[in-house]
C-alpha cells in the first residue's frame, strides 16, 4: 500500500485540569488513505474532538506523532480544513465574506477570492445566498457555508467534528447526500466524527470505533458498500442493517462503560 495521507502513531493526550490529570487519548494508531472517507464513532467524552484538534494542529499531543503526507503536524495549516458542529461563522460577514475568510488567510488576491467564493457557494447549493448574514440562514445553510469555506482554500484533508449533530433529521439526511456528492467530486480525504451509528455507516468507507475514555481505537469496520450515491435506498439495504448492527454491538459496551464511569465520577 502507498503511504497513508494521515498517520496517527501511538498518539496520546493527557489534560491537566484542576490538579487532576485526565487521559483523553491513549495509543491511537490509525492510517487514513488518500481520498478516503473515514468515520470515527465513539461514546461522548471518549476524545473524538481531541483527536481531531490534534490532527488540525490546534493542540499538541502528549505522546506519539501525527503525520500528514509523511510530515509531522506541528500546527494548523491550509492543507487541512476543519468543520465544527457549531459552524463557527463570523456573524458580521455575509456567506460570501465567510467563504472569503479562508482565502484571505491563504493570501488569494481579492478578485479571485470573490469568484472562488461564488464557485463554492454553488457547489454547496447556496447559489444566490451570497449576501445573507449567518443570522439570516438556517442551521443547515450555515453548515453548508462552513463546508464551502473549508473547501474553498482547497485543503487535501477535511476534518469534520460532528458537523450535522445540531441539525434536524431531514436537513441532516440532505446534507449527508450532499457531502458524499462533494467528496466524490473533489476527492478529498475526510475524517468525519459522529456519535450516530447510521450516519457512520451511511457515510464511511471505514468506520473506526473508539473505546470509552481513555479513547483508543477499538476496531475498524470496513463498510463494504461501494458507489453509495448509486444505491437507491441505502438505509433499507440489508448490508446497511448488518453494518449498523456490528457497530452498534461494538459501541454498546463502551457506552455502558462510559455511563458507569460518569456516574462514579459524580458520586466521588
Amino acid at each position: 500500500m502507498s503511504t497513508p495521507k494521515i498517520r496517527f502513531e501511538n498518539v496520546g493526550k493527557t489534560f491537566r485540569a484542576r490538579g487532576a490529570t485526565v487521559t483523553a487519548l491513549r495509543d491511537i494508531n490509525l492510517d487514513v488513505r488518500a481520498g478516503e472517507f473515514l468515520v470515527i464513532v465513539g461514546p461522548s467524552g471518549c476524545g473524538k474532538s481531541t483527536l481531531l484538534d490534534l490532527a488540525g494542529g490546534l493542540a499538541e499531543q502528549t505522546s506519539g506523532r501525527i503525520l500528514v503526507d509523511d510530515k509531522p503536524v506541528t500546527g494548523p495549516g491550509l492543507d487541512r480544513g476543519i468543520v465544527f458542529q457549531q459552524y463557527a461563522l463570523l456573524p458580521w460577514r455575509t456567506a460570501q465574506g465567510n467563504i472569503e475568510f479562508g482565502l484571505e488567510a491563504k493570501n488569494v488576491p481579492r478578485r479571485e477570492r470573490a469568484a472562488k467564493a461564488r464557485e463554492y457557494l454553488d457547489l454547496v447549493g447556496l447559489t444566490g445566498f451570497q449576501d445573507r448574514y449567518p443570522h439570516e440562514l438556517s442551521g443547515g445553510m450555515k453548515q453548508r457555508v462552513a463546508i464551502a469555506r473549508s473547501l474553498a482554500f482547497d485543503p487535501d484533508v477535511l476534518l469534520m467534528d460532528e458537523p450535522f449533530a445540531a441539525l434536524d433529521a431531514q436537513t441532516r439526511d440532505g446534507l449527508q447526500d450532499e457531502l458524499l456528492r462533494i467528496w466524490e467530486k473533489t476527492g478529498k480525504t475526510i475524517i468525519f466524527i459522529t456519535h450516530g451509528i447510521e450516519e457512520a455507516v451511511y457515510l464511511g468507507q471505514r468506520v473506526a470505533v473508539m473505546t470509552s475514555r481513555p479513547g483508543r481505537i477499538k476496531q475498524i469496520v470496513d463498510v463494504g458498500i461501494d458507489a453509495r450515491s448509486a444505491t437507491e435506498d441505502l438505509r433499507s439495504d440489508p448490508r446497511f442493517a448488518h453494518y449498523r448492527h456490528e457497530i452498534w454491538t461494538l459501541l454498546r459496551d463502551e457506552v455502558k462503560r462510559a455511563r458507569s464511569e460518569e456516574l462514579e465520577g459524580t458520586h466521588v
Binding site: G57, L58, I82, A88, L90, F101, A105, Y133, P134, H135
Partner: protein, 288 residues
C-alpha cells in the same frame, strides 16, 4: 461589569419584526393601513406624555397651583430662551459646553479603546487590572471633581479632565469585556486557518468586540453631558452649567429653565445619535 455591557438596542427591535409576520395574510391595503395606524399610535404615545408635561408646566403656574416665581409658565421660559438665542448668549454657552464635552469624550475614546484592547487581549493583565477598573468606575466622577480642581485649578483643564475621567471607564470596561467575550470557537476556527496573532486580532477579535465597544461609547456620551454640567457649576465663565447656575444666583428664573431645557435637548440628541451609530455597527448581533 455586566451592568455596562447591556444588550444592544438592535436586539430589542426583533419582536417588532415578529409581530409583522402574521399580518401577511391580510390584504395589503388593510395591512398597510394598520401599519400606518400603529406608527401614528407609537408616535402619539411618545408625544402624549411630553405634551402633558408642557400643558401642566403652562397651566399650573398660571393657576398659581405652584409658585410662578419659582416655576414660570412654559411660554415665559420659551420667550426667555428665544431672547437668549437671539442675543447669541445661548450659542456661546452651548458651544463652550460642547467643546469641553467633545474634548473630554474624544480624548477618552482615543485613550480607552486602545488601552482596553490591549488589556483585554492579554488575559493576565486583564485579571490583574479588572478589580482596579471596577473601583474607579464605581467612584463617581463628581466625587473626584474637587480633587481635579485642587490639582488642575478651576480652568478648562480640570473640566476637560473630569469629563475625560468619567467617559474613560465605561469605554475601557466595555472594550475589555468585548475583547474577552469573543466566542472562543471563532478564535479556534480562525487559528485552524493558520491566522497569526496580528491577523487574528484584526479580523476576528476587533470586529467581534465592536458592538460592545460602541455600547461603552454610548454610555460615555451620556456621561459626558451629565458630568459637564456639574463641572461648569464650579468656577466656569461660560457654558450651559454656568448659565444655569448664574441665572439662579441672579434670580433670572426663566433663563435658568431655558438653560435646563437646552441641556436636556442636547442630552437627548447626543444619546439618539449614539444609539443610531451603535445600531449601525451591531446589526449582525440581532437574534443569534
Amino acid at each position: 461589569m455586566s451592568s455596562l455591557t447591556e444588550t444592544p438596542p438592535a436586539v430589542r427591535t426583533a419582536p417588532a419584526r415578529r409581530i409583522a409576520v402574521p399580518a401577511v395574510p391580510a390584504s395589503p391595503p388593510r395591512g398597510l393601513g394598520r401599519r400606518i395606524g400603529r406608527i401614528t399610535g407609537a408616535v402619539l404615545t411618545r408625544i402624549v406624555a411630553i405634551a402633558a408635561l408642557a400643558v401642566i408646566w403652562e397651566v399650573f403656574p398660571r393657576l398659581e397651583l405652584v409658585n410662578p416665581v419659582f416655576l414660570p409658565p412654559l411660554t415665559e421660559v420659551l420667550a426667555a430662551w428665544k431672547d437668549l438665542l437671539v442675543s447669541g448668549e445661548l450659542g456661546n454657552h452651548t458651544s463652550a459646553s460642547l467643546a469641553r464635552s467633545a474634548a473630554g469624550f474624544g480624548l477618552a475614546i482615543a485613550a480607552a479603546v486602545p488601552l482596553g484592547l490591549l488589556i483585554g487581549w492579554y488575559t493576565p493583565v486583564a485579571n490583574l487590572l479588572n478589580p482596579l477598573l471596577e473601583v474607579f468606575r464605581n467612584t463617581a466622577a463628581l466625587a473626584i471633581l474637587p480633587v481635579f480642581v485642587l490639582i488642575l485649578g478651576l480652568g478648562e483643564t480640570s473640566k476637560v479632565a473630569i469629563i475625560f475621567y468619567g467617559c474613560t471607564w465605561p469605554i475601557l470596561l466595555n472594550t475589555v469585556s468585548g475583547v474577552r467575550t469573543v466566542d472562543p470557537l471563532l478564535i479556534k476556527s480562525a487559528r485552524s486557518l493558520g491566522l497569526g496573532p496580528v491577523r487574528l486580532f484584526q479580523k476576528v477579535v476587533l470586529p467581534a468586540a465592536v458592538p460592545t465597544i460602541f455600547t461603552g461609547i454610548r454610555l460615555a456620551g451620556s456621561a459626558s453631558i451629565l458630568i459637564l454640567i456639574a463641572a461648569e457649576m464650579v468656577g466656569a465663565k461660560a457654558g450651559l452649567g454656568y448659565l444655569i447656575n448664574y441665572a439662579q444666583y441672579n434670580f433670572a428664573v426663566p433663563d435658568m429653565y431655558a438653560g435646563i431645557i437646552t441641556i436636556s435637548a442636547i442630552g437627548l440628541l447626543v444619546n439618539q445619535l449614539l444609539v443610531v451609530t451603535e445600531r449601525r455597527f451591531s446589526t449582525w448581533r440581532t437574534a443569534n
